[in-house]
Amino acid sequence: MPVSKDIPDNGASARPLVEIRGVSKRYANGTLAVSDVNLDIHAGEFLSLLGPSGCGKSSLLRMIAGLGEVSAGTIDWPSARRDGHGQPVRDLSFVFQDPTLMPWSTAQRNVMLPLVLKHMPARQAAERAAQALASVGLGSFLNAYPRELSGGMKMRVSIARALVTEPGILLLDEPFAALDEITRHKLNDDLLALWADTGFTVVFVTHSVFESAYLSQRIAIMAARPGRIIADMASNVAFPRPEAYRTSAEYAELCRTVSTRLQEAIAA
């Protein structure tokens, strides 16, 4: 049985990377987007936030990133370095649903951006950007403008830009939702390979049961109105997951279980 309904036990001694306690988000128009969410994100894990549109999964992700204040509760980074004001220095990168590239800059200059903003010398930044682009398979497109790239390639540039800072945690907000299925499968595999190589933590927001079941070690299912976590499931299938896993019985079983829980969530 590959599925257990418990939060994986990473050992009580290790404190989580991110501790989310009682977090709510109410927007100015009165909408309660996120209600009383408790969640621990552990270092090195691949966690999916799965839920229907409007369940607050993007709002939650943005609050983890520090984009937008929490209305109630706390998001703590227990082991993070503190800045001058005692605030945790979040060692994260964010990948948006759109590639969000600067159209006036080449792929390489887009990837250099986070380094340049931190005042890294241009030559060194260019070198690091070239490496990051090579790691996502775009080593020969350094000087291409976003306009000249396909949707999947643009998303690869976006991922390279997120990885160039060597972040401890990568937050992805439905990154492949706009891509065709073949490209999405390829990017899923490439993301898993990068995760296996580098060992960063991933929080992956998606509305696709299949995508979350294929990628994750752990799936947090969210329900809408108000947005809350209604199930936290682990998948114990080992990595790397071969292409055959997509057609295996255990994958189908996991998808069915997740899907049932999601249906319950929508019906509730």
Binding site: F96, W104, G137, E148, R156
Partner: protein, 280 residues
Amino acid sequence: MTDESARPVFHHEPRWLGLTAAGWQQVIAPIVIGVLALGLWEAVVRLLAIPPYLLPGPILIAQTLFENWNSLLISLWITLQTTLLALLAAVLVGGLLSILFTQFKWLELSLFPYAVILQVTPIVAIAPLIIIWVNNTAASLLICAWIVAFFPILSNTILGLNSADHNLVNLFQLYGATRWQTLIRLRLPAALPYFLGGLRISGGLALIGAVVAEFVAGSGGTSSGLAFRILEASYQLKIPLMFAALALVSAAGIVIFLVLTLISHLLLRRWHESAMRQEN
């Protein structure tokens, strides 16, 4: 890789003198129409024996232009000086103000309405005042042309500075970018296409402003631009000379527009949708 085959395909058509077949069509079609219209004009003038002081034919106008070439060229240069200086001032003041307005919202709130008032007041109505207040004729003409020219740059650039992709703004925020870095690396490049759109409008308006101001000033002497030559010729019933000066004003306007279009194309051709053609 599957992505790679999905890359957009761009046209590489054969070119003659830098223009594609479709490009030449765009140039030749209006020229043919123009030549036909001029021919018709000349024919009507000759067949109906219209006297030149009512409507000179294009050949007579061309002759007059050729005979008065040197003096007209001096006048053209004077008008162009006013136009270009006014455009430069419009770019500097309009660009700077739009940056200040977007950085300090209270400044925009308190000053933008006055920029609108300046824009909607007919220049013909305030030009006499400006010419009285400012002792130097050249300076007063410049101010008039600037008033007409600066608003499109101001309003377009403000729009551009505010239309940076909000996800990119978030991204800059996540990486701890300073206000200055966000301005230089994000807002200014995002505003460039809007600014250039405003610049193309302002180029023509600067010329119109300069010509209108010259009309109102009506000053003769050494610093007389093309508009004054038109006035002067009409007083003396030298209608062919009037048309010749008018033709030069139009030509100057067309050249300004073409030059600004070229600049815009060169700056945007690698990345902006407006400057690209994709095969469908």
